[in-house]
């Protein structure tokens, strides 16, 4: 009964000061909305990056020269096709080994031109990575062996050069050399604002002549199964180190990449949540402030309630409820606004956003807790008021 009265009084008080309650709530609304949106963006980014890394294929192993260290300068590659043959002997299956040598080049067809990444690769690429050819075919081993000038275009490149026409069988000019388009990749779309369809694949041997180099940037191996990845990595690195004693090599597995990316993005999400949490805290301080004002304004009312039998606890609960009501109402509104904004961001911008139930539970729980924490001091102050002093106040 007393508790019901406390609810009623708290609600009445909030309604009596609509504008003030609204402004106080605004701090909490903004804080909670910020937590929800920023966590959604962090989570969405993490999901997307992980999806992409996983989407590359399974049981992947990438060998690069140099140490894989964020911030380390890239090491000039001394890898050559003979090293690839050595790796292939270790793997025992040519179709599981892929290579890249990359260069940015201008590609022309008819009167159109576009600047894109040209990748010199083996015919095994679609087998090692998940890459689907939408039209035409990928090139084959004999194209690689004979340095044929054939190219497979990314969907964006195909659209830029040929528009709605079918590029397969058409000529394209790469870095001043004529190539025949044999296929077009199925579109992959954008991720994190980067167009993944903006690339062209040509045989690695052709690329070496075109780029006037014989280097290989990286070797990728698709292990037969999960358990053999690490052993394979060790053997490949050992072999390459023997062949190039002056160079260090690193093998990176998909799992390691996922782990590192997950850590980075997890920290990012945490930092975003913490920043948003600070605004929630500021909102809480606002609640505390307003509650103290409310207690002062209603001192006479408190005195009267005490005079007719309200215990310190009854008064304390009444004011605590008022604070919790303020923040949980603000929290609910903030959650709605946060979810709405996150969906909007995901819909109209390349920034991904994923709403997670835990961020909602957390945001609401924290806002209610903020109400309790920041309501306790004003509530205690109200509960301890001396009735005689309170009644005399004006």
């Amino acid at each position: 009964m007393r508790f019901v009265e406390a609810w009623r009084v708290a609600l009445t008080a909030l309604r009596a000061n609509r504008l003030r309650s609204g402004l106080t709530m605004l701090g909490v609304i903004i804080g909670v909305a910020a937590v929800v949106v920023l966590v959604a963006i962090g989570t969405g980014t993490k999901n997307e990056v992980e999806e992409q890394v996983e989407g590359l294929g399974s049981n992947l192993l990438v060998v690069v020269p140099g140490r894989v260290d964020f911030g380390a300068a890239p090491t000039a590659s001394r890898l050559q096709l003979s090293d690839v043959d050595a790796v292939t002997r270790i793997v025992g299956d040519r179709s599981r080994v892929a290579v890249t040598v990359t260069s940015g080049e201008t590609v022309r067809a008819f009167s159109k031109s576009t600047f894109t990444s040209v990748l010199g690769v083996l015919d095994t690429t679609p087998n090692v990575f998940v890459r689907q050819v939408g039209r035409g075919t990928y090139f084959n081993k004999s194209d690689v062996d004979t340095q044929r000038r054939v190219a497979v275009l990314g969907a964006s490149v195909a659209r830029a050069l040929f528009g709605d026409r079918d590029p397969v069988g058409q000529q394209a000019n790469i870095a001043g050399v004529r190539f025949r388009v044999v296929g077009v990749f199925a579109p992959l779309g954008q991720s994190l604002g980067v167009d993944r369809d903006n690339e062209v694949h040509i045989p690695v041997t052709t690329a070496h002549r075109l780029f006037a180099t014989n280097r290989i940037d990286a070797i990728a191996v698709k292990a037969p199964d999960r358990t053999s990845i690490d052993a394979l990595a060790t053997r490949i690195v050992a072999e390459l180190s023997k062949r190039h004693p002056e160079t260090e090599f690193s093998a990176v597995t998909q799992e390691q990449i996922l782990g590192v990316l997950g850590d980075i993005l997890g920290v990012l999400t945490g930092v975003l949540a913490a920043i948003a949490g600070i605004s929630l805290l500021v909102g809480g301080v606002g609640v505390s402030n307003i509650m103290l004002v409310s207690v002062r304004e209603r001192t006479r009312e408190i005195g009267l309630r005490k005079a007719v039998g309200a215990r310190p606890r009854d008064i304390g609960v009444q004011f605590l409820l008022e604070a919790v009501l303020l923040t949980s109402l603000g929290g609910t509104l903030g959650m709605a606004i946060g979810v709405g904004s996150a969906l909007l961001v995901a819909a109209v911008s390349p920034v991904p956003a994923a709403i997670t139930w835990w961020s909602l539970v957390l945001a609401f729980g924290v806002s209610a807790a903020v109400g309790i924490v920041f309501g306790v001091v004003p509530a205690q102050r109200a509960g301890r008021l001396d009735p005689v002093v309170a009644l005399r106040s004006e």
């Binding site: 007393r2 009596a16 005079a307 007719v308 039998g309 310190p312 001396d386 009735p387 005689v388 009644l391």
Partner: protein, 224 residues
Amino acid sequence: MMPAVVARDLSRTYELDGVSVPALRGVSLEVAAGDYVALVGPSGSGKSTLMHLLGGLDRPTAGELLIGGRDVNRLDPAAMATLRNETIGFVFQAFHLLPRTTAVDNVALPLVYRGGIRAAERRRRATAMLARVGLGHRLDHRPNQLSGGEQQRVAIARALVTDPVVLLADEPTGNLDTATGQSVLTLLEEINAERGVALIMVTHDLEVAARARRRITMRDGVIV
């Protein structure tokens, strides 16, 4: 029958900016159940201070005080609140009604804090009490829609709705004109007579003081 209040050698000293103000200096009195006591004395003599102590709103600095048989020195703040709720009705000079709250809700407020009484029952009792003080037709009026005399009647109904042992009235007519004040006094005296609730009233009206069963005069914090 147990006395309504027993005070022995009560004193109350206020500490104000490091200065001690002895408002009560050794007051002893006993008020029987159903008694009618007029408390008179010049301004500043300690009447209100004594009323606050007798009403359980304040605690004595020294001395013994039993209200309805309970020793206030042994009660914690929560128990004091319960004592006020169950034993005491207080009528203030300034009415002290909750604004934006109807007469019937104002009167029912002490029952809310008593606990365990349903809303319908609270309303029934408050309505009956308002009818008794002549405001049966003003149930849902708010204080700002009532005259001063009517507001004080609402306050009296609120003080009585819990069936207290003692009704304390500190200059209840101080904010009212003479005629209205007279009718409020008459109401208080009627209620004292018909309900057997002890009435302790601070007044400056010597006629009223003469009508009371007992008169206690204070000066400089002591009974003379």
